[in-house]
Amino acid sequence: MVENVQVEKGTSLWADAWKRLLKNKLAVFGMIILGLMIITVIVGPPLIRWTTGLTADYIPSDGDLIRSFPPSMQHPMGTDEAGRDLLARVLQGGRISLMVGIISTIVSLIVGVSYGAIAGYLGGRIDNFMMRVVDIIYAIPYILIVIVLLSVFGGPNTPGWIGWLSEKLGGAGNQGLSQIFLLFFALGLVSWLTMARVVRGQILSLKNQEFVLAAKATGVSTFAIIFRHLVPNALGPVIVYATLTVPSVMLTEAFLSYLGLGVQAPYASWGSLAADGIKNIAIFPWQLIFPGVTMALTLFSLNFLGDGLRDALDPQTRKF
């Protein structure tokens, strides 16, 4: 009986939030665009290959074709300087960009949530120490961390599981992808800090509530208290923050691409395509417009969705 009441209450909370979310037209708009984008990016590349035979890394061998063509029937977005079809590259770049966003956010979720929750729940000296560690990492330039990670663990020293992961997700014979996964990992490692702070704040306000005290009294282990009782209750802000982490990670990846530290050729991301395009904006504007607008639209949708989720799930918290 008691259980039933709880379940019902939980369902209504989420259902309520969902209803509120649906009311927010901008968020719905964001969700639709994002959904479409994900579907396009998944089915797009094979479809293009099937209809026109173009792949993202196909460089024509005829010297005359190796230049940037404006949009045409054959190449709806034009081609880049190497004569590669831009549409195919934007779609393939979308895979990478969205993966960067999502995988890095998952890494930052896993690390940030456990770290923040542990620090917040244990409190006292341990909390103080753990938070100072966060402060220190916060002050270390992440560009240095990225360089070190990419150079030390890149190439022959790539950890086996990264190679395994990239093979599973990218198909065999794609060693180039492992560097990208390293980048996901590196970006995740530098973006968990704020997440840890957010979660800690939530846990601090939750840990003295009755249900935690009750669980403690009945002898539930610390681990279980943190991960079975506290974290699920702090999920609202975490989801909100995670939605907002995705676009910020994507922007960071774009910045790294601009510095030449981003994805590995022949792969591209929206960020690296935009960074290449901006150099030629005066001559081949389509090289910037298509990847740029696609990326901006996606970031737009993600931000709208994040805002909507915040309003729906947790109208009380402020951002940060």
């Binding site: 901008l26 240095l144 910045f255 960020g271 935009a274 639209l297 805002d307 402020r318 951002k319």
Partner: protein
């Protein structure tokens, strides 16, 4: 309150030293060194260089020497630019970044606060959606795209301002706008959210009930509370801005600290990297402290033990 500030100030020093240590370790782990170039050096030349810079000594000795000097606030000479001390470089290039950062933040505050307040006051109106959509645009366009586009239009198309390089107020306009875009967007969103929350709160309702006029309610009560998220954002943002932002400095060829820092990492210029990291980390911590203190003044509910 005072003891709180003192405690936080005292902890800054060891934390900065820790940051420096970790950074030092990272540079040492990263392959490559400051003197390598396209051509391989003969072993004799390499040995001379190692001897000159003490790189032939054991690592703990090198680390000890470095820390000792840093405690004395002397970061030594840059390795890439011999004859220039790290302190000198920071002192020389900070003003460039700081000027641009300062103006960019002022501009961001002006735009962001105005847009945010209007959006909050006229919630769900065209003003609200318009300004929020603009803010979203600011958050969605990378500044390495915004900068060159502005240059193309205003410097090379209309010839209103110089395309890049430092010199005169007109050369500041484009970098300041480029830099402020994303901050203005953040501030607008934060202000809107903060204001909306405060306006629903009891004390604003009370103030209204007391019959105070709308202007006083807004400026004295609602704004003061609603601005808190902006203040907490200002801390790290300002530190980052003052220390320079790489993209804007690269695009506009401004001799600021941000670009120099990135170059020093690529050059493996250890003293310069450490010097700038130490400087920035202290800056961040001080700004964060200032933010915490200012909470006390803005929000009477927050107290420090």
């Amino acid at each position: 309150m005072l003891s709180f500030i003192l405690r936080r100030l005292l902890i800054i020093v060891p934390m900065a030293l820790l940051v420096v240590t970790v950074t030092w370790a990272l540079i040492r782990i990263a392959p490559g060194n400051f003197y390598s170039t396209e051509r391989t050096l003969p072993p004799a030349v390499e040995a001379n260089i190692k001897k000159k810079y003490g790189l032939d000594r054991p690592w703990y000795e090198q680390y000890g020497m470095m820390m000792l000097n840093i405690v004395k606030l002397d970061f030594g000479d840059s390795l890439r630019y011999p004859g220039q001390t790290v302190n000198e470089i920071i002192r020389r290039h900070l003003p460039y970044s700081a000027t641009i950062g300062f103006f960019a933040y002022i501009l961001a505050l002006l735009i962001g606060l105005t847009a945010g307040i209007i959006a909050a006051l006229k919630q769900n109106s065209i003003w609200d959606y318009g300004s929020m959509a603009l803010a979203m645009l600011g958050l969605s366009v990378p500044n390495f795209v915004l900068g060159p586009v502005l240059v193309l239009v205003f410097a090379l198309g209309l010839y209103l301002v110089p395309p890049s390089r430092w010199g005169g107020i007109s050369s500041l306009i484009l970098p300041v706008i480029t830099l402020s875009a994303i901050y203005a967007a953040y501030i607008a969103r934060l202000t809107r959210a903060g204001m909306l929350e405060v306006m629903r709160s009891d004390y604003v309702r009370t103030a209204r009930a007391k019959g105070l006029d709308e202007k006083t309610v807004l400026l004295k009560h609602a704004l003061r509370g609603g601005i808190i998220p902006v203040v907490s954002f200002t801390g790290p943002a300002l530190a980052g801005l003052l220390a320079g932002t790489v993209v804007v400095e690269k695009v506009f060829a401004i001799p600021g600290l941000g670009n120099i820092f990135i170059q020093s990492v690529f050059n493996r210029d250890e003293p310069l990297v450490l010097g700038i990291v130490a400087f920035i980390s202290i800056l961040i911590m001080i700004f964060n402290l200032a933010v915490d203190i200012s909470y006390g003044f803005l929000d009477p509910r927050i107290r420090y033990e």
